[in-house]
Amino acid sequence: MNTSLGQILNKGKAFVYGDDINTDVLAPGAYLKYSPEVMSKHCLESIDPDFVKKVKPGDIVVGGKNFGVGSSREQAAASLVILGVRYVVAKSFARIFYRNAFNLGLTPLICENYKKIRNQDILEINSKKGKINNLTQKCVYNTNSVPDHLLKIVNAGGLLAELKNKIESNSIKTLRFRKDN
């Protein structure tokens, strides 16, 4: 399974869940001590044990309000990224999850019409234009536009990739370079 961040994964099946999908559901505490790869195998298992078995690169997770509420643990977003998910569509997102998602290359899209999406609908996403094309129901939903500075992060391949670019362009003055490098 090739799910590198540069790959375009904007078309897939919708996995639809409800409101307040929290970080304990996305990344259960019992697996926090293990690697993000191990953790990802338990993503959403307490509400949908089949999710990890069924999800394929490009699939899209759909929630209701306050997606990602709870802990700051970024394994919640990382697990979805590792499973090949690049977009989460919801009515709203919890603030730490929202930042974590962009930082890791996952785009959270705010969509008022989230309730119209049915489980297993095929969606195609154009985040630049702010459109979700529901190929199953043959209709298009608008999403809120993603702020420019966050688009830059996600387009760079995440916050660290963006930081790397800034380091190379010498645009940050506070850095202390390692002596062993």
């Binding site: 001590k33 709870g70 709203s92 202390r176």
Partner: protein
């Protein structure tokens, strides 16, 4: 138009005179706090890959509290990685097995009014009790902070949470926050700062104020904050902190996006039912629910005053045979203080089992986690499905008074009925 406390701190950290909600600014960070779980094991390799050391070791505070003490090879290794990284980065402010980060930070005199701080944990807003603007972030955001000493923020709006009146006996800050969660829900203060005001707040101790700011995480807030007053000054002076900005407050003409008013006189003990802090109601709605485990722990619920509350209820009494009472004091200094004043003796004589200081069962780690279909009442801040162990366990949230009272009867009970 004037500014709120939070806007003033953000403006200062961004090096501008003025900020307005919605603006995106880059702030320089006064303190970056990280712990063993989302800390060195994540940031160490990433910083190395970037070819960087932390921007300023004197501004980084590291606290091992999630996997303490180690219970298996994996957690032992996480703690080892943390210790080695701290040495490598020459970080002097390292607290290993001393207690939970949000408690240790103010306890060791690191917080004061006006600072802009970032913590690698969602309950970082706790620091707001000291007039600090402190937000929680994930491990990648924190990596960028450790590399650059800066972070971008969208200036949040402020919700005023205004409490007037006197709390009844056996009604606490935990009941106040559960009442707020019940009223406005998990997203009620979405991306806002909750600024707590009113004479009820003025009369609260620092231990109690920390519960308010800590649990702003449960209503979706970016953080919580309380203007410094005499109580703050007394606490900070006891930590030998100097140059304390006591002038810090919201301007009279500052803009609050909304206001939630509460009358403390009418507040009853609150209980949050599984699986959300927003399921909070007056305790009477849940009276008589059978409980398997009573847990007094975590950053929000096992400070010295929390233990003293429990001791007040349990003095001369015994826990029900049908229940186990587990107590994990929030820090080792709290354990020492509770030992010195007789609190621990009262608790253990009543049948409480003492656990190490750390995040423990609250985060589903360490000792005291729950089995399938077990029911727990807990002084912690969050009761999401699966958080404290098995996904089919149930957790009720309540004050230390209520949890201690429930330990006596084995069923949820109003603390005023057992005293």
């Amino acid at each position: 138009m004037g500014m709120t406390i939070s806007e003033k701190i953000i403006a200062k950290s961004a090096g501008v005179d003025f900020v307005r909600p919605g603006e995106i600014v880059t702030c320089s960070v006064d303190i970056a706090m990280i712990h063993d779980s989302s800390g060195p094991r994540r940031q160490g390799p990433r910083l190395k890959e970037l070819g960087l050391n932390v921007w300023d070791p004197s501004k980084v505070i590291v606290i091992s509290d999630h996997y303490v003490p180690a219970v298996d090879k994996v957690s032992a290794n996480i703690l080892k990685v943390t210790r080695e990284w701290v040495k490598e980065e020459n970080i002097k402010n390292f607290y290993d097995l001393q207690g939970i980060c949000h408690i240790v930070l103010p306890e060791r005199g690191h917080l004061k009014p006006g600072l802009f701080c970032v913590g690698g944990d969602s309950h970082s807003p706790t620091g707001g009790a000291f007039g600090t603007f402190m937000i929680g972030v994930g491990a990648t955001d924190m990596t960028a902070v450790l590399a650059t000493g800066e972070i971008w923020v969208r200036v949040p709006e402020t919700m005023q949470v205004h409490w007037t009146g006197k709390l009844n006996e056996f009604v606490t800050a935990k009941d106040m926050m559960l009442a707020l969660c019940g009223r406005i829900g998990l997203l009620g203060a979405d991306y806002m700062v909750c600024e707590f005001t009113g004479n009820t707040i003025n009369n609260l101790s620092m231990d109690e104020r920390m519960v308010l700011t800590n649990m702003t995480a449960e209503v979706g807030a970016k953080t919580g904050i309380i203007a410094p007053d005499k109580t703050t000054l007394e606490f900070l002076s006891s930590k030998n902190l100097k140059e304390i900005n006591m002038e810090l407050c919201s301007d009279k003409d500052a803009n609050f996006a909304s206001i939630e008013k509460f009358d403390a006189n009418f507040l009853e003990p609150q209980v949050a039912a599984p699986h959300s802090p927003a399921n909070s109601k007056n305790l009477s709605a849940f009276e008589g629910v059978n409980i398997d485990q009573a847990y007094i722990g975590a950053c929000t619920g096992a400070k010295l005053e929390d233990l003293q509350m429990a001791a007040k209820i349990l003095k001369g009494k015994s826990c029900s045979k049908n229940i186990r009472l587990l107590i994990a004091p929030s820090s080792t200094r709290i354990t020492a203080a509770a030992a010195a004043d007789g609190t621990l003796e009262t608790l253990t004589e009543a049948g409480a089992v003492l656990l190490p200081s750390g995040c423990g069962a609250c985060a589903g780690l360490g000792a005291g986690i729950l089995s399938k279909e077990e029911v727990c009442i807990s002084t912690t801040n969050r009761n999401f499905k699966g958080r404290m162990g098995d996904q089919d366990a149930e957790v009720y949230l309540a004050s230390p008074y209520t949890v201690a009272a429930t330990a006596i009867t084995g069923k949820i009970v109003d603390p005023r009925e057992v005293i």
